[in-house]
């Protein structure tokens, strides 16, 4: 039994083996291609010991290992994605050997082709919308001491109301941005809102979306985002273009998006 497994980074189309020459994958191992029926799997060897079922479960808890693996994975996908059509696979997708990879390509050639067709000429963009916190004037008024019990209650009511409406307004504005961008996108995927601690932002996040956008509509996207630059209620953050991680799943979900 060989002591290596085959790690698959991505599925792609028309990859010249020369294009991956010199590209380093996991643990600095050379990246190569496995082609079958017009679909190419981008692979490298991986230590069997590292990826065996039991060991892998433990390793996925090991943040250091996870970070290194994710970086290597992303490096390969990103480098290749610059001038190729790629559908990235999930982290730590391993097969027994190249033969097994070929068999999978054979079984699911149509699915892979369909996914690649959907991704062709499109890139993923990330959009995060944050609510802008209340104006500094309101905070100042809060600072001086309330004169009486009734006054205190009035202030608290105002503060609570403002907090609620700020978020509501922000959500409404976020829905507008989302609708405008979704109209441009081929597919939309909602991600979980990140907690303030995780995102490192003090403003609460109200929208976290990924859009699969045709390359030629990028200017329109930028225009939409720019029009919200000075919005009083929300702050809009656009990232991309990304390799379409959020849209590489085989399921042809096109929720909310309209085909261009």
């Amino acid at each position: 039994m060989s002591d290596t497994l085959t790690y698959v980074y991505a599925v792609a189309r028309e990859v010249d083996p020369a294009a991956v020459a010199g590209l380093e994958g996991l643990g600095g191992r050379p990246v190569r291609t496995v082609e079958h029926r017009g679909v190419t799997a981008v692979v490298s060897d991986a230590d069997r010991a590292e990826f065996q079922e039991r060991a892998l479960e433990e390793r996925l808890e090991d943040l250091e290992w996870l970070a290194a693996t994710a970086r290597a994975h992303h490096h390969v996908v990103d480098t290749l994605g610059r001038d190729h059509l790629v559908a990235p696979l999930g982290l730590a997708t391993v097969y027994f050997d190249d033969e097994r990879v070929r068999a999978v390509l054979d079984e699911s050639a149509e699915t892979f082709s369909a996914v690649l067709d959907r991704l062709a000429g499109r890139a993923e963009w990330g959009l995060k919308v944050y609510a802008r916190k209340g104006s500094p004037a309101a905070a100042e008024a809060e600072a001086e001491k309330p004169k009486s019990g009734a006054d205190y209650l009035r202030r608290r009511r105002k503060a609570l109301r403002e907090g609620d409406t700020t978020l509501e307004d922000a959500r409404r504005a976020a829905d507008e941005v989302d609708a405008a961008v979704s109209a441009l996108a081929a597919a939309v995927k909602s991600h979980r809102l990140q907690d303030a601690q995780l995102s490192g932002q003090t403003d609460p996040m109200v929208l976290n979306q990924a859009y699969l956008l045709p390359v030629e509509r990028v200017d329109e996207l930028r225009a939409v985002v720019a029009s919200y630059q000075d919005h009083p209620k929300v702050r809009v953050e656009l990232t991309g273009p990304w390799v379409p991680y959020s849209f590489a799943a085989a399921a042809t979900s096109s929720s909310g998006g309209s085909a261009p």
Binding site: K133, P146, S148, G149, A150, D151, Y152, L153, R156, R157, L160, G163, D195, A196, P204
Partner: protein
């Protein structure tokens, strides 16, 4: 021997602080609930002016006492919040 006694002393402080944190968290939760309930009743208008004033004063004093206590134990308002995972935080992030 004295070294050992010291160590126990430090642990005791940590325990005391953690316990205080937990107690204050629960008190803060109740305080916020009472405050919202009071505001609701004022909105409904079924309180006399005097009752409103008394309620407001009590809540104000309670808020001040909470601030003093948290400060005394070297805690911040954020410390008094528990992360309930998928349910989000126990208290609103900013009160």
């Amino acid at each position: 021997m004295s070294e050992r006694a010291n160590r126990i002393e430090i642990d005791k402080d940590a325990v005391r602080r953690d316990l205080m944190k937990l107690v204050l968290t629960i008190v803060e939760l109740l305080r916020q609930l009472m405050e919202r309930q009071a505001i609701r009743r004022v909105d409904q208008g079924d309180l006399t002016e005097q009752q409103e004033e008394d309620l407001g004063t009590s809540l104000m004093l309670l808020a001040e006492a909470m601030d003093e206590l948290t400060e005394q134990f070297g805690l911040t308002a954020d410390d008094l919040n528990l992360d309930l995972g998928p349910l989000g935080p126990l208290l609103p992030r900013d009160r």
